[in-house]
Structures are given as C-alpha cells and as structure tokens.
C-alpha cells in the first residue's frame, strides 16, 4: 500500500500535478458545503460543480460525472459531503476513526478521467496526482470529511453525514427488513406452511444477506 508523506505539493514518489505530463491541466477540487467558498479555490462558476453549489445550482453525481466524461473540463468542483445517499455513496471505508460509505466519484475522476485532486482539509490541502492509488484517494476523501467537522455551524451538510455511517445504515436496513419480515409473518399467521410465505421469507433473507457481501480493494 502506498504511503503518503509530507511534501510540498505532491506525494513523495515524484508524481505531481505536473509530473506525468498527462494530467497537468485537469484538476478536481474537493470542497466542503458552506456559505462561502474557501479562499484560493476556483469559482464554481468557472468549473463543473458536482453537487449543490454556493449559487444553489445543482448537478447530481451521475449527471455531473457524465458531463465530465463527455467534455473533460479543466476544472471540476465537487462537494463530497453532499454525497451521502446509499445510491451514490457505496464504497465502504474502514479507518481507525471512521467506518462509513463514500462515493466512488473521486476515484473515477482521478483514475479514469485523469484528474489530479486538490482536497480541502481545513487550513491545509492534500494534492494527489492522476492515477493515485485507490487507498490514497479514499484516504484523502476521508480526511476531507473529517476536516469538515471543524467548520462547526458553518458546515451546511453536517446533519446529513449520519447516512454514510455504517452503523446507521445497518440500523435502517435492519428496520426495513424487520418490517417486511413482520408483515409476512402477520399475513401468514393462519397458514405458516404456505409455499408463498416460504418463498417471500427466502427472498427477504437473500436480499438482507446482499448488503453484507464484500468486495475488497
């Protein structure tokens, strides 16, 4: 696994924003959702912004990624803190201080579409060159999300972050699963051996099992 070390603008193996000659002109900026854009970052108006921007213009993750893939703009602004929905945040990350889901969008931008990443982490920034390892990109996104907490009340997406936490999703899944299991049991109380009851319960068990299947990087 690659290690990130302190350096001026890049990771220590020499790759940098200008390092490999293929990624020099495309940068994706990872910024928190707040009322004012942090200084030293490009305006959302001059770039493709994935997520709800300061002007409240909104481009969902799928549409934004499609637009990026088609036009390869030189500058993309993305708000990872808005990507909490299970439909878009489905990469499970385990760290010592966080177990939750993030979107794969930053990985795709960096490794598929050739974007260097410039990641806001409070008063510092992490810069990752094109084709960084999956672990490096994920680590950068997690540091970004953890740094968002320092914004306190100024962080407009603080209240939505629960949905990315593994334990919260487990509880939500469990509740939905128990609701359906209870509904089936109530409906077949007089006929517990009905084949349709068995079929429904088996389908339910299979679906509940899916969420625990894991594909490891």
């Amino acid at each position: 696994m690659a290690m990130l070390e302190s350096a001026d603008l890049c990771v220590p193996d020499g790759r940098g924003l200008d390092g490999d000659g293929t990624s020099t002109d495309r940068v994706a900026y990872l910024l928190p959702t707040q009322l004012q854009r942090p200084s030293h970052y490009p305006s959302e108006k001059s770039s493709v912004c994935i997520g709800r921007g300061i002007d409240n213009a909104s481009l969902c993750a799928a549409k934004g990624l499609r637009m990026v893939g088609e036009t390869l703009p030189s500058c993309v602004v993305i708000h990872p803190d808005q990507l909490t929905d299970p439909a878009v945040a489905n990469v499970l990350v385990q760290t010592d201080e966080f177990e939750g889901y993030i979107s794969p969008i930053e990985i795709l931008l960096n490794r598929k579409y050739g974007y260097a990443l410039d990641i806001w982490v409070g008063d510092q920034r992490i810069k990752l060159p094109v084709n960084s390892s999956v672990e490096e990109v994920v680590w950068g996104v997690v540091r970004h999300l953890i740094s968002c907490r320092t914004l306190g009340d100024g962080w407009l997406e603080a209240h939505t972050q629960r949905l990315r936490m593994a334990k919260v999703r487990e509880r939500l899944r469990d509740r939905k699963g128990r609701f359906v299991a209870s509904s089936i049991a109530a409906a077949f109380a007089m006929e517990p051996s009905a084949p349709s009851a068995q079929r429904l319960l088996q389908d339910l068990a299979r679906i509940r099992g899916l969420a625990t299947m894991r594909v490891t990087a």
Partner: protein, 337 residues
Amino acid sequence: MNVRFAQMLTWLAQPLKALDVRSQTIERWLELPLSCDDVAHLRERTGCALGAYYHWYLQKMLVATAIKGASADRARAFLAATDRTDYSPAQALLDSPTGVIVAIPHHAHYILTMTALAMRVGKTRKVNVFYASPKTNQGNAVFDQLHSMLFSDPASGVDVIHNTRQGLAKAIKGLKRGEVVFIMPDAYADVAATMMYPFCGALQNAMQGTAAMARKTEAWIQPLVSKVEGNGLAFGARFGAPIEVPSNALDGEDQERIVDYAVMRKVFSAFEESMAGELVLWQNILQHGRDTKMPAHLAPFDDLTREVEHLGLDPLFRAPDLVVDLRGFGGAVTRSA
C-alpha cells in the same frame, strides 16, 4: 414510609392529574427529566393531562420509598395492604399439568403484581422470575432487592433468573418440569432480534422468546396486566385469556418464526385490551410510536411481493461496490499551498 401515609399522599395529590401545565419544579422533585418533545409526545399518545404522568411517577416514587430498606415483614404488610387483585383466574396456574409462562408488561405496579402473584403461586408450584440482569438494566436492581428480601428462603418457591444464556437454559428446564416462569415481553436486549407488532396505534418491537420458549416446552402463556386500583396506592391485575401455543411439528425456522409471531401477536393483543386508555402507566410510553421513520402499520397481504421487491431495489441493501480498509494506513497531509 408508612403505608397509610403513602396512600394518603397519593390520594391528596389526585388534583395533580388534572394539571396540564408543565412544571419543572415537579419534574425536578420527581427526578423526571423531560424534554419539550417528550411532553408533546406524552400528550399526544396518552390523551391525558401531563399531571396524570406526574401523579403516576409520584406513586412509583412512594412505592419505591415504602419498600426501600423495609424488612421482609414490612414489605409483605405493604403488599397485603395495597393488593386488590382477584386471584381466582390464577387457579389455572396451579392446576396446569404443564409449565406456564406468565407474560406481564412494564405497566402500572407490575413489580408489585409479579411479587404478590409469585408469593401465592410459589407456595405450591416453583416460580422463576425472568428479567434482564441489573448489570445490563440498572432499573431492575429493585427486583433483586425485593426478591432477595422476600424470596431468599428456598421454601418461598420463587427464584430469580437473569436474562443470560444460563438463565434461559434454566427457564426452559423449569418449564419442562412444569414450573411457572414470569417474563416481560415488552422489553428487549437487542432490537435487531425483534419483530414488529401492532400495539396501541403504533408498531412495537418485541422479541419472540416468550413464544419460542412456550413452543419448545409445551407450556401455555398467561397474559397478565397490572392495574392501578382506586385513588390510593392500591393495585390489581387483569388476567387475559390463556394462550395455547401450537406444538405440532414445524418444518424449519421460517415456519417457527411465523408461528411464534402469531403467538406474540395474541400476547400483545391481550396487553392492549387492558392497557389501551391508560398508556400513561406504561414504562415504555416515551418511546412508543416515537420513531417517525417507523411505519405505523404492517404491510397488507397484497403488498408483500412488492415490499420484498422494493427492498431488492433499495440501494441500502446493495453490497458495497468496494471495501477499502485503511486501518493502519500511514498517510500524511501535504502543506497548504
């Protein structure tokens, strides 16, 4: 505290029941921390003035004070002075050729009801009182105190079983021998192991252990609900219709789960018959129907296939696209530009 004095205080405090104004002084005195949401929930769910809740907690406090530190004789005298229960239906517990599970919710003076009934039944039939250990539920320490005071003599015929693996094994063994087990099905240790039951206008999580235990031991279930009697500290109890548990051979866990569910639903229906209209006396009232994300009703039969299909399409149930384990990953942040 003297029983008569406690009775008189309860009676004198009757006007409190009509008070529908929040009093933080009373809440402090009763050690009853309530949020604004709690107050709104209580009013909506119970249909009572807030004072009814205060009055109930006053009663609980007086009972706890009267029992705390009392001698065994004094505790027995307290029970005798406050018990108005008609025990004629309890004869079925004594006559039963099989084991019996007495299912009782955390409602009204449930501790007094359980204790008084256990004292009677224990004289002729072994009783096991099954509840979560005070190590996991501090509120249950009062059970341990009361039972060590009243039932430490083996001749009492009453034993305490904590909700552990060993406790469960002991309860099952006892039921197979024809003993009586008291259990409180409206409490659960692990919500993930519960099912949802329609109960007093909302869905209530409950474990199926009571039904499973009865099924495995050919015991039957006696629903029992403690009641407040009169305007003092007196208590009574309502015995529900006995619930027989199907003992015919079942094919697999799915069938067992459905059968156990049906039994538990009868248990909660019996509770609802006695508790509806006085939910203010229920220990779980602050949580009941509180979760706005919890459906209010089960899905009807015609919707079941669609419900299962929806889960299959729900992204929550999708396996992660990727799992990245960064534990021990030694990244470091580059300096700001």
